[in-house]
Symmetry: C2
Subunit: 377 residues, 2 copies
């Protein structure tokens, strides 16, 4: 069992700390086991006497009381929102604002997101906009949110016509990524997180990708050392990309969108919440890799290797067969990464090196999707 | 007629430019006559090919077509919202987002606020949050918004339990303060703006206050040279305060709230839209001045002088008599300037010098209000 996590062994410990360097908005990510109980990590980042914990109906019964007892004698209020991407809306934001107002939270309050990406994105946006900005702390409880939402400062909600269309860039004061809580994740949600972990290997870190070829099985059976290593490595890679382009002003940060333009089309077509984000990204990465191969970048063997890797975590690798190529392209075109009507896609020059292709036409993508078995219209 | 605007004569010209210095977020305020038609001022600040003009039902029939023809061949979309503070809500924000999405505005779009403070605050907040931040330009059409919203970067909407509780700090790319459009303002709205102009004299600029003692009548009859001077001077004073405290992290920026804590209580009690913001601020300033006098700072004569000055513009100087002292204090306590339950008020040490008093108790304020004729409960 140890042989397949040797790289993790080198790095594993009960607590890893990664500092995300963003000048005066720098913050630490604490990664490790049983962090929810460690008041000494959390309390130094709370400046006032008020805290609002935002969590959801799935997480609250599991971890809310534990967190509240860690917070001790502060004024701790809570709001429990329904679980699911379909609730990542302005309507839910209003519930958070209502709670803050009715409990009279002042400008020194701290919002704590206890949950997955949906809870994190909304809590961050609420913190960015309540009284024009208050503190917030992320405690991501899914693997996806630990590796994705911990770094980057993206907060916001969906619009009926597109994902994440309303939001702000806003950094947390600190992040607690407790790998112990991943024990209660469903296999399907864990796999969705593994998809994003694999993404970091694909776009920027070939050695990590090589480690994943050996250790994805260990991640999938929730080996703690492997999880700590994978979360650390993913966050470090994301931080590297984000530090170069905090507000998405160049192409660089777009690399993080590998698989996402295809993925968003799938999520939108199926309605939010049917496919998990990570599942859509997995299929999106597989499509992006195949298109990269067609354009002469990566090899057929690497395509198959990626497919096997994704399937080790039971991730989907083909798009929903009830989608048509033209619907797909239309939904990709509504994605915000389209600038001045030109389609921009993240592709793979090689494993471990992604790039932004700005010259792929909608027609090319449609033809490619038809080859993948989708009906034209 | 000229004798009472001599100071304005010195500065007046068809176009004044004030640069608000905020590092990489610096921007110019253009102040002058007939600016709506001057494409050469506006177009350099529009980076993409798309523009959304946000305006209201009062302003649209007067100035929308003029602005559209100035913008020429860009993709110019428009949204016309109902006029009034009661529409400064998340529900109205959704209409703006809906328009941006359905017209497929991309991340290079520019939002233009054509209207008063409500339009400016919401358009700024929409720009701050659409796709996590796009450009925006302010074209304030009321005197109040020209002197208040042009500087400071405050954007947002009201919550049913408090004004401006949801928002962001976000700077425009430029501001066009066209004094010609003030011709179509009602006297009441003009006066509301004059209240804020007087505020700048009171808090930080005694010479300007002296000028106002001579020239408020000229402002009230819409003398263009006097208006240009007053807008310039007000914005310059506000910029001076804001530059020292862009994100309201010290007490300094709080000076701008002279009259606002009292004023917000009046607005909230009466329901948004009954008293104009500037009217509530006028009464609030008068109350703050009287409290300052009671505490031994300014003289009884200066109180009377201020009252006369406000009355020159037909501004109200006594609170609504149907409010009780305890209701008043309760509503002041719900204001966001309260930190850790301590009441903070901006008072006058002397004319032209405001300060933040953190030690006034709710009981003191209640007693003071009872002396002003309000019932205790």
């Amino acid at each position: 069992m140890h042989s397949d996590i040797s790289a993790a062994d080198t790095h594993a410990a009960d607590l890893q700390t990664l500092n995300v360097e963003l000048g005066e908005r720098s913050y630490p990510i604490f990664i490790g086991k049983n962090l929810l109980s460690r008041a000494e990590l959390l309390l130094p980042y709370i400046r006032g006497k008020q805290v609002l914990i935002v969590t959801n109906t799935t997480i609250a019964p599991l971890y809310l009381e534990q967190l509240k007892s860690t917070l001790g004698r502060l004024q701790v209020d809570e709001i429990i929102i329904p679980d699911g991407e379909q609730y990542k809306t302005l309507a839910t934001m209003e519930l958070i604002y209502d709670k803050l107002m009715s409990a009279r939270h002042n400008r020194k309050t701290t919002l704590i997101a206890l949950g997955g990406g949906v809870v994190g994105d909304m809590t961050g946006f609420a913190a960015a906009t309540y009284q024009r900005g208050v503190d917030f702390i992320q405690i991501p409880t899914t693997l996806l949110s630990q590796v994705d939402s911990s770094v980057g400062g993206k907060t916001g909600v969906n619009h009926p016509l597109g994902k994440n269309m309303i939001g702000a860039f806003y950094q947390p004061r600190c992040v607690l990524a407790d790998t112990t809580v991943l024990q209660t994740l469903t296999d399907r949600e864990l796999a969705a997180g593994i998809a994003e972990v694999i993404k970091y290997g694909l776009i920027i870190d070939k050695p990590f990708y090589a480690w994943l070829l050996e250790n994805t099985a260990a991640l999938y059976r929730r080996d703690q050392a492997a999880l700590i290593y994978a979360v650390y490595q993913s966050c470090a890679n994301k931080a590297k990309v984000v530090a170069a382009d905090e507000r998405e002003e160049t192409d660089h940060r777009a690399l993080l969108n590998l698989g996402h333009t295809f993925g968003h089309a799938i999520e939108t077509a199926q309605g939010y919440g049917q496919w998990l984000h990570g599942e859509a990204v997995a299929t999106g990465m597989q499509l992006a890799a195949q298109l990269s191969q067609q354009l002469g970048y990566i090899s057929q063997q690497e395509i198959l290797q990626l497919r096997q890797l994704l399937q080790q975590a039971n991730l989907p690798v083909v798009p929903p067969q009830d989608m048509t190529a033209s619907q797909f392209v239309d939904l990709m075109g509504r994605d915000k990464k389209v600038i001045d009507s030109r389609l921009r896609l993240v592709l793979l020059r090689q494993i471990g090196e992604a790039f932004v292709a700005a010259d792929v036409t909608a027609q090319q993508v449609a033809d490619f999707l038809i080859q993948q078995g989708l009906a034209p219209h």
